[in-house]
């Protein structure tokens, strides 16, 4: 690991429970620290550290970090407005939804919104509403990134539909993750407890802190082979919030019901490996807790470095996790997608993440 990565880890840990309060000197990594902080999406935490005097460096390096944060915030605000517009459209159409990840966590699990940047809009709708939600956005100018494999696939098997509007990516989710763990989760439960955050005069509906923590764990464990520090920090912030704590009992029950023990175990281990933070015991216990072999073996397909390989690897395990009655339709959609040009459709599949 590079010195800049280590410095980024220390910066990403600022303010977390159990983190060192020693000053962070970045003089020796001045040529690479900006890109490390940017890649790990923790420029906002660094800037707060600079303002508070806990991150020290030469003037030019600090100015570069500040400039990079200014630019990222301008882009994040564009995406936040897209999130508000998307939520308004869904509200007007009577489609119940929840804003997920960065657009919500910036206002709920961050010391201040400027700590948390994000690159796309993530919205959860019920599977029965996903076709209507996608059609609504398409009518308002968005375009689908990838065509539906077969009619009914999105509502029945898809993790999410990716749309683009004015250069901004909007992911309309049916579940929180692809593959077998997506099959095992019960996304309707995520609509039972609603929180609303006021942003720009609009009430954005989102998950409650416990469900956000569940999602953060799934995203870290299954979303990327090497998750960025910002996502690890989400877990630490959500797990240790003094003002809006996660419900430990409900978290454990959800993970048990969703068969996600292996997911949380991986998420906790990744978080502990890179952040200088003390996680609450209900969460840190997962690092050493035995998990069923069936869950553990389902993690492997998510760890393919190549996203195209990951989609292909997830198909057999998804098939295995689905009820028998759903397997023929899933196999047909993935193995023989709809459309007149089979070669192009196979390329579509390979492009899927």
């Amino acid at each position: 690991m590079s010195a800049a990565s280590r410095a980024a880890e220390r910066i990403a840990s600022i303010g977390l429970i159990g983190a060192s309060t020693e000053l962070i000197e970045i003089d020796d990594v001045s040529d690479t620290i900006v890109s490390a902080l940017s890649d790990e999406r923790v420029l906002g935490v660094a800037v707060r550290g600079i303002d508070q005097g806990s991150v020290l460096g030469d003037d030019a390096t600090l100015a570069s970090i500040i400039d990079a944060h200014d630019a990222v915030m301008a882009q994040t605000m564009r995406i936040e407005i897209a999130a508000i517009e998307t939520s308004r459209m869904l509200d007007d159409a009577g489609i119940d939804h929840r804003v997920l990840k960065g657009a919500a966590l910036a206002h709920t699990a961050s010391v201040r919104p400027a700590d948390r940047s994000f690159r796309d809009v993530d919205v959860l709708v019920d599977g029965s509403d996903i076709d209507a939600a996608v059609a609504l956005l398409v009518r308002n100018g968005a375009t689908r990134a990838i065509a539906e494999l077969r009619p009914g696939y999105d509502a029945r098997f898809g993790k999410s539909v990716t749309l683009r509007h004015n250069g901004i990516e909007i992911d309309m989710h049916r579940v929180l993750s692809p593959g077998p763990f997506g099959v095992w989760m019960k996304p309707k439960e995520l609509f039972l407890l609603k929180r609303t955050i006021e942003v720009g005069g609009h009430g954005l509906p989102t998950l409650d802190p416990t469900d956000h923590l569940v999602h953060a764990c799934y995203h870290v464990a299954l979303g990327q082979v090497t998750p960025v520090l910002s996502n690890l920090r989400d877990i630490a912030m959500l797990a240790s919030s003094p003002t809006d704590p996660a419900d430990e009992e409900r978290f454990e029950e959800t993970i048990k019901r969703w068969r996600g023990g292996a997911v949380v175990k991986r998420a906790v281990r990744l978080t502990q490996a890179r952040l200088d933070a003390t996680l609450p015991q209900f969460l840190s216990d997962y690092a050493h807790r035995p998990v069923p072999a069936a869950e553990l073996e389902m993690i492997a397909p998510y760890l393919d470095e190549d996203p195209r390989g990951r989609f292909a690897a997830l198909a057999p395990s998804t098939l295995k996790a689905l009820p028998m009655s759903d397997r023929p339709a899933y196999a047909l959609a993935v193995g023989l997608p709809d459309g007149s040009d089979p070669v192009a459709r196979v390329k579509d599949i390979l492009r899927r993440r």
Binding site: V47, H69, D70, M73, A74, M77, I81, I84, R112, P113
Partner: protein
């Protein structure tokens, strides 16, 4: 924008999103704007105070309690900030009734 005009108006912030930047600066972007406006110096404070002090007359005593400048200097600074808010479509102005 004349001093007389600015002194006679009440200002209301438009719905906008915000982000704090380093060195006390702020980005503010109305929902219908393409790009954010950067506020610096005393502008972020004046922006925050507009909810409770919507006119120059209301703002002067608020800032006087925080800064040592004369009321005239403070009023000039307030008018400069308000002009910028108007030019950036961050506020709407209406004739003060009292």
């Amino acid at each position: 924008m004349s001093d007389a005009f600015l002194n006679s108006q009440r200002f209301e912030r438009v719905p906008a999103i915000e982000r704090s930047l380093a060195r006390g600066r702020r980005l503010v972007q109305p929902l219908d704007a393409e790009t954010p406006t950067q506020l610096a110096g005393s502008a972020p404070l004046i922006w925050d105070l507009l909810d409770i002090a919507p006119s120059v007359d209301d703002l002067v005593p608020e800032l006087q309690s925080r800064f040592t400048d004369s009321p005239e200097v403070i009023a000039n600074g307030i008018r400069a900030a308000l002009s910028m808010f108007i030019n950036s479509s961050l506020v709407t102005a209406s004739e003060a009734t009292s």
